[in-house]
């Protein structure tokens, strides 16, 4: 908005879009995880799904959540903001539930998913990412 007065009033409508400024860094990290999780789940399911159907299905589910979050954050509009909120919330729940289950019942998770052990194999980024995502969505909440 280059033709606004020098000191524009800060209204709710001024809230940044999710795909602007620091949000773009967040989207890149989400995109990296979306690609990584999708590829990993794809290889797991294509080559040895019978070995561990539950964790591999979870990997695929996580992949879908990351893809959806990436896409929704990169779009503008209230509807996509809600989709992003839903996917980040599911992601937060997923990493907490799967993380807890995998710690207490490691036999059920013989092969790692992104969310096993709270994402330890991925430097805990899967645990931190939804927190930052949800904080960013709060900052960019539509009026």
């Amino acid at each position: 908005m280059p033709e606004q007065p020098a000191t524009p009033q800060r209204t709710p409508a001024d809230r940044p879009a999710t795909a602007s400024g620091p949000g773009r860094v967040l989207i890149v990290v989400y995109a990296i995880f979306a690609v990584a999780a999708t590829s990993r789940a794809g290889v797991q399911i294509a080559t040895r799904f019978d070995e561990a159907p539950v964790p591999y299905s979870l990997s695929a589910f996580a992949a879908v959540v990351y893809l959806l979050a990436t896409f929704a954050l990169a779009r503008t509009g209230t509807m996509w903001w809600r989709v992003a909120l839903a996917s980040c919330s599911v992601e937060m729940t997923g990493v907490l539930v799967v993380g807890t289950l995998s710690v207490f019942d490691s036999a059920a998770f013989p092969d790692a998913t992104v969310w096993s052990n709270f994402g330890m194999g991925y430097l805990f980024i899967p645990l931190v990412l939804p927190v930052i995502g949800l904080l960013w969505l709060r900052r960019t909440r539509p009026a």
Binding site: G21, V25, I27, V28, I32, D111
Partner: protein
């Protein structure tokens, strides 16, 4: 794969990443020298792909050929695609994006070395 070369490329990637994050702290948009650094890194990765393909044809047997090839393709795409995204809106955040992209390079190369050495996934 040549592990020594992968380590050298990873070190360069870490260097460019640190450079990018220093520029973020200084509130700078991506400038030509940094973009040239990212370009040089991409060239090093292309050489890494050529080395790997030659060694694969020469009888190299990674733990999973499919996984290895996926990483090979991914390692070539991450910097160009990410840079396009970074430069679509030029702010200090673009510089941070370039730093994040560079950080993925050592991770990809580490995974590739593991798969090349026999890991199956």
């Amino acid at each position: 794969m040549i592990t020594g070369y992968a380590i050298a490329v990873s070190a360069c990637a870490a260097g460019v990443a640190i450079w990018a994050f220093v520029l973020v702290v200084l509130h700078r948009e991506p400038e030509k020298p940094l973009l040239m650094g990212v370009g040089a890194l991409e060239a090093l990765l292309a050489v890494q792909v050529v080395i790997s393909v030659v060694m694969l044809i020469g009888g190299g047997e990674p733990g999973s050929l499919l996984t290895f090839l996926a990483y090979l393709v991914g390692s070539l795409l991450v910097l160009p695609l990410g840079t396009v995204w970074a430069l679509a809106e030029r702010t200090r955040s673009s510089t941070a994006i370039l730093g994040v992209l560079c950080l993925t390079v050592p991770v990809l190369l580490l995974r590739m070395v593991e798969v090349w050495g026999g890991a199956s996934a």
